[in-house]
């Protein structure tokens, strides 16, 4: 092909790409010509694209990420989870003392930062009682640390003062800066720096003091130099004084060397704390298995726990298992949501099809007038429409009154039409009906009446003509309407909330509950992700069975 073109266009050349008039390859000049069009098209949609990315896609991605995200356990209890990794949870015995010591350190820092209650409520989703356990422990850890603090302070009042701690642990340069710094000056507080070598002499103390310093300077915004240290510093100080590295303390020559040496000698005879016992005293749950199993199970940064929860399962020793019968709710809710959405979709088809037919076959003027009646509900607030159903359907409502008046229903056995599935189905069918009628109408409008006539002239009865000729051609409208109604209803929230009672609510109501009441966003995100997956799955199935190009919203 290109050879013949070449032969006619450029007689001199035998082969090579087709060239444009100016000698550039034709393909390249075509691309260049189209690039400008593409760019301007992109520019035109850019505002919407950016808007959607920022306000829609990004939040949804973030929300979906929350369904597996589980950093809070590791972030709040970094030391505990690190040591717990080596703990054999199947041994049946609770972890050893080092874990409790790490737990003390973690919870102490967390309660200073007011993060322990958050972790408590996170773990409470998995283990009832975890929330109060952590709240109690937050109050209790102060007492544990005070044992060492009191002993050090009783021994020498030197250890009471924040200045002295800073003199020992801070670098000389930093000390010079902080001493001349005034809060009123408006300048930023010079960031704390550890004295050289002190991390080797008092490793634990230095490490926790650094945390304390950062917290005080950055989060509390108070002058570190004047601040008295946490109880935690005293307990780690004790650990350093009595630990394996204690001999190095004698090499220290900086400020407070004498007091340090004195403390080292005195510490040997200090009263010690058994962290395990101390936590047991705070709450008996700490010396039982469940909390430790839970913490261990939820230490990884990512978890499938929310998803397991969303399908009525839980983590256990032997992998995921079904929850006890009385705790399973989500499977039922998902099934109910799918079932009711199907019923609503089918009701909409049954009610909407004849309306679409009439609209499509009336003269344009009358059809437009009736179309306004179909669209009228759209212009009324959703809340108003739903509340109106409440008035209509209640036991002393219009529908029941009419039925009683007509003698169809006895006065003492009025129908329960609201606060149950019936109510939700009735109200939602009404609300979603236009979404069925509109695509049906626009598809039916494009089916020429001559098809029906042709079928009849060929000998088909009215029914055969409809069923064999008209109906197959209106299927794309049914498909489009059904997808619209089904997907809208599967995620519907307001109407089931108002008229659904307890048996007529959808999964979306549960998601809303977790978002706004229980604040278990992870679970809400997992439920939402499952819902999204179900919708996409159904869409995919529809595409495979009916074909998505068979969906028409209009001509």
């Amino acid at each position: 092909m290109s050879d013949t073109v070449d032969a006619t266009n450029t007689p001199g050349e035998k082969s090579g790409p087709v060239l444009a008039a100016d000698g550039t390859p034709l393909k390249r000049s075509l691309r260049r010509a189209l690039r400008r069009q593409k760019m301007s098209a992109l520019l035109l949609i850019a505002p919407l694209l950016i808007f959607i990315l920022i306000t829609f896609i990004a939040p949804i991605a973030d929300m979906l990420f929350r369904s597996v995200e589980n950093e809070i356990v590791q972030d709040t209890l970094p030391r505990t989870t690190a040591i717990l990794e080596t703990w054999d949870s199947e041994s049946g015995s609770i972890p050893d003392a080092p874990v409790f010591k790490a737990l003390y350190q973690d919870i102490f820092i967390a309660q200073e930062r007011k993060l322990h209650t958050r972790l408590g409520s996170r773990l409470n989703y998995e283990l009832t009682g975890a929330s109060s356990l952590f709240r109690k422990s937050g109050r209790g850890v102060g007492d544990i640390g005070e044992v060492y603090q009191d002993q050090f302070e009783d021994m020498n009042a030197f250890w009471k003062k924040g200045e002295n701690w800073n003199d020992i642990l801070g670098s000389d340069a930093w000390l010079a800066e902080i001493k001349s710094w005034k809060k009123s000056s408006g300048q930023a507080q010079p960031p704390f720096e550890l004295r050289a070598d002190i991390a080797e002499i008092l490793p634990e103390t230095a490490a926790f003091y650094k945390i304390f310093a950062d917290f005080t300077q950055n989060e509390k915004n108070s002058n570190l130099y004047k601040k008295d240290p946490w109880e935690l510093i005293y307990s780690s100080f004790y650990d350093d004084l009595t630990g394996a590295n204690a001999a190095r303390i004698d090499t220290y020559t900086g400020p407070g060397a004498a007091e340090l040496s004195e403390a080292k000698t005195a510490a040997a005879s200090f009263e010690t704390v058994d962290y395990k016992v101390a936590f047991g005293d705070i709450d008996k749950d700490w010396v039982k298995m469940p909390i430790w199993d839970t913490i261990r199970a939820y230490s990884p940064r990512f978890t499938n726990g929310y998803f397991l929860n969303a399908v009525d399962m839980q983590k256990s020793e032997d992998g995921p298992e079904l929850r006890p019968e009385n705790q399973r709710i989500y499977y039922t809710l998902f099934m109910r949501t799918l079932f009711m959405s199907s019923v609503i979709t089918i009701s909409c088809i049954l009610l909407g099809y004849p309306v679409g037919w009439i609209l499509a076959n009336l003269p344009a003027r009358t059809a437009n007038l009736l179309m306004i009646l179909v669209l009228l509900p759209f212009w009324t607030s959703l809340l108003v429409r739903t509340s109106a159903w409440k008035v209509m359907l209640q036991q002393q409502g219009v529908v029941n009154d009419t039925l009683v008046w007509l003698g169809i229903v006895a006065d003492d056995s009025r129908l329960a039409l609201i606060n149950n599935q019936t109510g939700t189905i009735i109200a939602m069918t009404h609300i979603l009906l236009p979404f069925m009628i509109l695509p049906l109408y626009s598809v039916m409008q494009t089916i020429p009446p001559s098809y029906l006539r042709a079928a009849k002239s060929l000998g088909a009865t009215n029914w055969t003509a409809f069923w064999r000729v008209y109906f197959p051609q209106s299927v794309p409208g049914i498909g489009a309407g059904s997808i619209l109604v089904f997907i809208l209803s599967i995620g519907y929230y307001i109407t089931p909330e108002i008229v659904g009672g307890t048996t007529g609510t959808f999964i979306s109501n549960r998601i809303a509950y977790h978002i706004s009441s229980s604040l278990n966003w992870g679970l809400a995100a997992a439920l939402g992700a499952i819902l999204l997956a179900v919708v996409l799955g159904l869409y995919y199935a529809y595409d495979k069975i009916v074909g998505i190009d068979n969906v028409k919203l209009g001509g």
């Binding site: 020429p448 001559s450 098809y451 006539r453 042709a454 079928a455 009849k456 002239s457 060929l458 000998g459 088909a460 009865t461 009215n462 055969t464 003509a465 064999r468 000729v469 197959p472 051609q473």
Partner: protein
């Protein structure tokens, strides 16, 4: 008007009226009778009531008054699907969700005809319109002409005795239309079916039909074979509507024997054949076909009345020359001459004399 007393009538309209709104009659007092095997065309401008007549015959519209009979039986109260009339629609109306073969099998299926017979009949019907290889295709994959062939085959596959066609070739280009016109008439005669064909294309009507019914304003203006319709229009509407026609207005001066004298409004006296005029003093429109006008003095028919004319425009059309003249006050007098070696090409501005035979010149209603 039509001969309603014909005893061998297959399709009959008797005093049929139709109104949609109760105020205006779309079809006024229609009487029509067709023998079996006739190819009848209903021709007329849009809104003349021809399609309404067809729809009443098919059963999709009910007559407001009167009787429609098929093979001697009144079909007024028979629903369309029981009439057994084949129909071809303007937009083909092939069912888009079925293949060509399924489309053809449809009328047989609803008649509960067995599968093997069905397939055989479908094959025969498709072969008949040279579409045998297209059975597995969808209508959308066919060209307009192919779709029309399939539509024709579908209307014929269940062997109806009467086939109605509602402007079936309207959407096709000229050449294809001519081919299909030829095919349709052949098929109709071959199968001996009766056809009622609706069109607004007069060439189509003239070339295809045994008889043509010219509709205007809800009435049949003339029902006649094509040649008669063209050469002997009974009123000025038919004369205007069928073919190109020159009209001169005037007053009848005297009638004697088979001719009359007409004094033209634009000056001049001509001889014409009285058709719708009965007495002197009546106003009339005189109609003369462009190809019957002679301007060559040597070939001028004997005894022809001549008129002075000025050439305004000469158009070369290939096989013929079309010349526009100013005659007796009108600028729209057309003459057509055959493109022959000895033919004169008139020049604009040239002064000539034109004339014709009195019998070619028909004095019609004013």
């Amino acid at each position: 008007m039509a001969d309603t007393s014909a005893t061998n009538a297959f399709v009959e309209f008797e005093r049929v009226q139709k109104s949609y709104d109760g105020e205006n009659l779309v079809v006024k007092d229609l009487n029509l009778s067709m023998p079996k095997g006739e190819f009848l065309t209903m021709l007329g401008p849009s809104g003349s009531g021809k399609t309404t007549c067809l729809m009443m015959l098919a059963g999709f519209e009910t007559a407001t008054h009167g009787d429609i009979r098929l093979d001697g039986k009144s079909i007024n109260n028979i629903p369309p699907h029981k009439r057994g009339i084949g129909m071809v629609f303007q937009n083909y109306a092939l069912f888009p969700h079925m293949t060509v073969a399924e489309n053809l099998a449809f009328p047989l299926e609803v008649r509960k005809i067995g599968k093997s017979v069905r397939e055989e009949k479908v094959k025969i019907a498709l072969d008949r319109v040279q579409m045998g290889d297209f059975g597995g295709r969808r209508p959308a994959q066919l060209s307009g002409g192919q779709q029309q062939r399939v539509a024709l085959a579908r209307a014929l596959v269940f062997e109806p005795e009467l086939v109605l066609m509602d402007e079936p070739l309207g959407a096709l280009d000229k050449q294809l239309r001519e081919t299909l016109q030829f095919e349709i008439t052949h098929l109709a005669h071959e199968l001996g079916i009766t056809v009622v064909y609706v069109t607004h294309d007069q060439t189509e009507a003239l070339t295809m039909s045994d008889r043509v019914a010219v509709f205007e304003n809800g009435r049949i203006q003339q029902l006649a074979p094509p040649d008669q319709l063209y050469e002997e229009p009974e009123n000025s509407f038919v004369a205007q509507f069928i073919g190109e026609n020159n009209t001169l207005e005037g007053v009848v001066k005297e009638i004697k024997g088979g001719t009359c004298l007409v004094q033209l409004d634009g000056g001049g006296l001509i001889e014409a054949k009285p058709i719708n005029v009965t007495q002197a003093g009546e106003r009339t429109r005189v109609s003369i076909r462009p190809e019957r006008v002679e301007f060559n003095k040597d070939r001028m028919p004997e005894g022809a009345h001549t008129l002075k004319a000025e050439v305004l425009e000469f158009v070369y059309m290939g096989d013929i020359f079309r010349t526009r003249l100013r005659v007796a006050g009108t600028d729209n007098f057309i003459i057509k001459t055959r493109n022959a070696p000895d033919q004169v090409r008139l020049q604009p501005g040239q002064q000539i004399e034109i004339g014709w035979l009195a019998e070619d010149c028909r004095a019609l209603d004013a």
